[in-house]
């Protein structure tokens, strides 16, 4: 067996080019798999550690206001380990370095000490204490965006009262891993920040003494979570509470979990394709090797080697190739994983994001790299068993061919022998044709999948921010304003036009499903906010009933005509039963809208607005900002352009690196598959082609025969490749479809074109190789030693 081992290494050397292209496939697959799996695991571990160490609450309740003593009553009862009452309020910030207003969420904490739950992780400075100055700790994301640190000051307007704040510390919290405003749940660190402030100060600013409007609970898990929630809901009902939410509905955690799971979905799929293609390639290459080495195999057999020993010999060859690829892939995965994780640092605010290459990732990577390849190899070794040792002594029998049914139809009779040769080479080995087409299709599909993400994100953002939300700025007011107030806004310099509408937080229930969201009453002729159908055509707001996001149709099984129950969560408590008239295709988040007149009618309201959409004069934008910032009743200001940019900065930026890596790998694979198929085609036909040259065929006609075959294979692969790409994009989009992002399946023609171009480039490279090969054909040798 020692000699056979030497043969393994010699053959590896001969098969260099194939070894390299298979290795690339495996390295790509394993690198992606290992990196993303370890990133997934690392993120999960960091999150769990952080949540546990800093006592992230299990339940979250908010209500209008309740006396602080109520906490004692709430805590009596089974299942509660700790409970903490707080004040949580939003205020409008004035930050020295930006003109446009920003929104801050202020969370009360005890003076100078950590809260019991959702403990802060102080990055810089210290906790705030009750002093003559109003001390606050600022969330790291906002601090970084504005270069703020201990000692800096800024002003805030809370409930119409202006106050100067002194920053004494920079911190993060498990409650705000992902700093999101409830008003515009998209990352925008420049215009949204979280602050922790001693309770007394916030009470004074909010004019709420010994009161709380928010409760967080840690469970001891002796009682079912639902029971505790139900009891708390009952106790807090008189205080205008919104229903308690568990972690799965907590905004930051929801995003964190969604993001981590998305990572998992996307990353499993692409490596799987890479590895499947690699297994197919190994199968093809090894089958060919066995075919070529028939005499050798027969000789070995006649010398007394068993089938198992011979198969083992070839499997060793495969094993060395896949082992090399897998180990390199694991190493590559470690580095890529580390790099990927650092892109998350600016996105998720964890105390530390430590990358760890755990043993499962390594084992998973090695197994995914080695086993499919070995399987592909094993399947190609069946021929070894069928071979009789006597064959070594015979001249090679020509591979068996028969006229197929296509020829029986007589379609080819008029073709020249050369043309027949061409067509038969192509179709008489259907398995090989299939494998090649599959390989090229898969390569096309991978390129399409990798690029489709940016297509979909672009489409999503473009639709949301250009077609659905058409305003420049959206201003939310503390209290509903009479219709005439819009005229005042119109007078502000820089404001071009104003449209008002009404929103109210509600809880909708359908069958046994419940959800809290903003219900909007909008005038049917509203220009700056439009609801669109799947073809992006504006939907007219029905005069009665509700228009909901398509999410409810898909996930809740709702149909037009169904009735849902709506309960208001602000102002006077009202419960109404309303019909659903249709569904709109929103891109971000979920919504419920109805006709504004209908809104006023069912909620028994005087005509009023609490949100104004503004179009601004681009040259006077700053003036408009400043004027709005100083209006007492203004509660939130959302700048569309800023939101758009913030979203792109963080979210798109984070995806970008991973996607770029996938695109590079996809290119390599596409090139590898095509080049390999050209090579295999060439070596399979080299002997025939040499015979043709000997008979007097021109070089060019031989090259045309060889390239023609690849060209036809490519042509046959293009549409299956496009279809496969679309299918993959579709299933991935479906898998990552969340409430927050309704990923539409959009692939721009450019993406199809790009993938086809890459494949064509690979063909050009292969053509150059073929031309060189044919030119260097040594006619004499090829005829003597039939390889």
């Amino acid at each position: 067996m020692k000699l056979l081992n030497r043969k393994v290494f010699r053959e590896l050397k001969i098969l260099q080019a194939q070894t390299i292209s298979i290795s690339i496939l495996i390295i790509a697959g394993v690198t992606l798999l290992v990196s993303s799996w370890s990133v997934y695991r690392s993120l999960n571990r960091c999150k769990d550690d952080y949540y546990q160490k800093n006592r992230f609450a299990d339940l979250f309740g908010s209500f209008k206001s309740a006396p602080i003593e109520l906490v004692n009553r709430l805590s009596q009862g089974h299942g509660i380990k700790a409970i903490e009452g707080r004040l949580v309020l939003d205020g409008l910030l004035s930050v020295p370095d930006v003109d446009e207003p920003a929104v801050g969420t202020f969370v009360s904490i005890p003076s100078g000490v950590q809260p019991v739950l959702n403990r802060l992780h102080i990055r810089k400075g210290r906790l705030p204490v009750e002093a003559s100055e109003v001390e606050v700790v600022v969330h790291e994301a906002f601090a970084i965006a504005h270069h703020l640190g201990p000692g800096d000051e800024l002003t805030v307007t809370i409930q119409g009262q202006m106050e100067t704040l002194r920053i004494v510390g920079v911190a993060i919290s498990p409650e705000y891993v992902y700093a999101l405003s409830a008003q515009a749940p998209l990352p925008d660190d420049l215009h949204y920040g979280v602050f922790w402030i001693p309770k007394k100060h916030l009470e004074r600013l909010a004019k709420m003494s010994e009161e709380m409007n928010n409760v967080v609970v840690e469970l001891d898990h002796t009682v079912r979570q639902e029971e505790v929630m139900a009891r708390l809901n009952v106790l807090l009902k008189p205080y205008g509470n919104r229903e308690f939410q568990d972690r799965s509905r907590q905004l930051s955690n929801m995003f964190v979990e969604d993001e981590i799971n998305e990572q998992k979905t996307i990353v499993i799929l692409d490596p799987m394709i890479f590895i499947t293609v690699a297994a197919f390639l190994i199968h093809t290459i090894l089958s060919r090797l066995v075919a070529i080495q028939r005499p050798q195999i027969a000789t070995l057999k006649s010398l007394g080697y068993t089938d198992l020993e011979i198969s083992g010999h070839y499997l060793k060859l495969v094993f060395l190739i896949v082992l090399g690829g897998s180990v390199s892939g694991v190493i590559g995965g470690k580095f890529l994983g580390q790099a990927l994780l650092t892109t998350y640092v600016s996105f998720f605010h964890f105390p530390s994001l430590d990358f760890s290459l755990n043993s499962t990732s390594v084992l998973l990577g090695l197994a995914a790299g080695i086993f499919p390849g070995l399987l592909g190899g094993w399947l190609s070794l069946r021929k070894v068993y069928q071979l009789s040792p006597v064959e070594a002594m015979r001249p090679p029998t020509p591979p068996s061919y028969q006229e197929g049914w296509i020829e029986a139809l007589g379609l080819w009779r008029r073709q020249s022998s050369k043309q027949k040769l061409f067509w038969r080479n192509l179709i008489m080995k259907p398995m090989r044709l299939f494998v090649t087409i599959f390989g090229i299709s898969a390569a096309l599909a991978i390129i399409i999948t990798a690029n489709a993400w940016s297509d979909m994100l672009y489409y999503l953002l473009d639709t949301q921010f250009q077609r659905i939300q058409r305003e420049d700025m959206s201003v939310g007011f503390l209290h509903p304003l009479p219709l005439s107030s819009m005229r005042e806004l119109q007078k502000i310099k820089g404001v071009v036009s104003v449209e008002g509408y009404r929103t109210i937080p509600v809880r909708i229930s359908f069958k046994n499903q419940k959800k809290e969201l903003q219900l909007s009453g909008i005038p049917p002729d509203l220009q700056m906010l439009q609801k669109l159908d799947v073809n992006l055509h504006p939907i007219r707001i029905p005069e009665q009933g509700l228009l909901l996001t398509r999410y409810f149709e898909k996930e809740w099984g709702m149909k037009a005509g169904d009735h849902i129950s709506i309960q208001t969560l602000e102002g006077e408590l009202r419960v109404v039963d309303l019909p659903v008239m249709g569904f709109s295709d929103d891109m971000l988040g979920v919504s419920a809208v109805m006709n504004l007149d209908y809104f006023w009618k069912i909620f028994h309201e005087q005509p009023s607005y609490n949100v104004a959409n503004l179009k601004l004069d681009p040259l006077r934008i700053q003036q408009a900002y400043i004027a709005l910032k100083n209006r007492a009743n203004v509660y939130s200001v959302v700048l569309k352009q800023q939101m758009y940019r913030g979203f792109q900065r963080s979210f798109v930026g984070m995806m970008k690196m991973f996607m770029n890596v996938v695109i590079v790998f996809a290119f390599l694979i596409a090139a590898g598959v095509i080049f390999n198929s050209v090579r295999i085609g060439f070596s399979e036909h080299a002997w025939e082609m040499t015979s043709l040259r000997v008979m007097g065929f021109e070089k060019n006609s031989v090259i045309a025969l060889l390239l023609g075959e690849t060209l036809v294979q490519m042509f046959l692969a293009i549409f299956p490749g496009f279809a496969l790409g679309y299918g993959l994009v579709h299933s991935t989009a479906k898998a990552v479809h969340t409430e927050t992002f309704g990923f539409p399946v959009v692939i721009y023609p450019e993406t199809y074109l790009l993938s086809a171009t890459v494949i064509s480039l690979a063909l050009v490279a292969s053509s150059i190789w073929i031309v060189r090969k044919v030119s260097r054909m040594v006619l004499v040798e090829a005829l003597k030693f039939r390889e």
């Binding site: 022998s417 040769l421 038969r424 000997v694």
Partner: protein, 238 residues
């Protein structure tokens, strides 16, 4: 046939040195020979004697290291690759030890492969008839025996009406009976069409079939024997 025919090939002081690895191999060390139209030449020699190299140079598959080869008044040594391709296509028929048929083409189509590109070919069916394979025309190589495959190769080689038929160990892979059938086809081509035939073999029994027997060893011609009378197939045995 006698040596009175027109000179088709003349080789002068042909040498061929292969540089394989570090040791130069002298395959031909100075060959002078003329081949005339219509004759049947058997080139005998052990392996490594240079006979295949000589044949490949005659057929335009290989170039000598020095010396000259003329096909008529056309110098093959100074020919471009394109000219050599045309020379092979129009004038030379090859028959190899391992047949070299295209497995995806039937017997007839393998022959047509040549008739498609030759200036004055015979019908593929005519060529197959000459080797006695009319009834196997629509069989693929895998459906033919070794001898039949070799006869298809002969039909393919002669279908273009070559000026010379070069056969490299045509019976090397065949048993005695099948080998004889193949030789019969070759003889028939020579007799019926008057094609110059050169057969390379290490099988001395075949020597009797030729007009001339050229014995080679170590890259040199050892002897040239003129057979007064060619033997018939029945008379030879190996």
């Amino acid at each position: 046939m006698t040596r009175s025919g027109k000179v088709v090939f003349s080789a002068r002081n042909l040498t061929k040195i292969y540089q394989t690895g570090e040791v130069p191999v002298h395959a031909l060390r100075g060959i002078d020979l003329e081949l005339v139209s219509g004759e049947m030449v058997v080139i005998l020699g052990p392996s490594g004697s240079g006979k295949s190299t000589f044949l490949n140079i005659l057929g335009g598959l290989d170039q000598p290291t020095s010396g000259e080869v003329f096909y008529g008044d056309h110098n093959l040594v100074t020919s471009t690759e394109k000219e050599l391709t045309a020379f092979r296509r129009d004038h030379v028929g090859f028959v190899f030890q391992f047949y070299n048929l295209i497995p995806t083409l039937t017997a007839e189509e393998n022959v047509q492969l040549v008739t498609d590109i030759s200036p004055h070919p015979m019908q593929a069916s005519e060529a197959l008839q000459m080797v006695g394979l009319t009834d196997r025309a629509r069989h693929f190589p895998s459906q033919l025996s070794g001898g039949e495959q070799q006869r298809v190769a002969i039909a393919r080689a002669v279908a273009k009406r070559p000026d010379i038929l070069l056969c490299d160990e045509p019976t090397g892979a065949l048993d005695f009976e099948t080998g004889k059938k193949v030789l019969e086809s070759i003889l028939r081509v020579n007799q019926e069409t008057g094609t110059l035939v050169a057969i390379i073999t290490h099988n001395a029994a075949i020597a009797g079939l030729g007009d001339r027997v050229i014995r080679m060893a170590n890259g040199l011609i050892q002897s040239i024997t003129q057979n007064e009378k060619r033997k018939s197939l029945e008379e030879i045995e190996w």
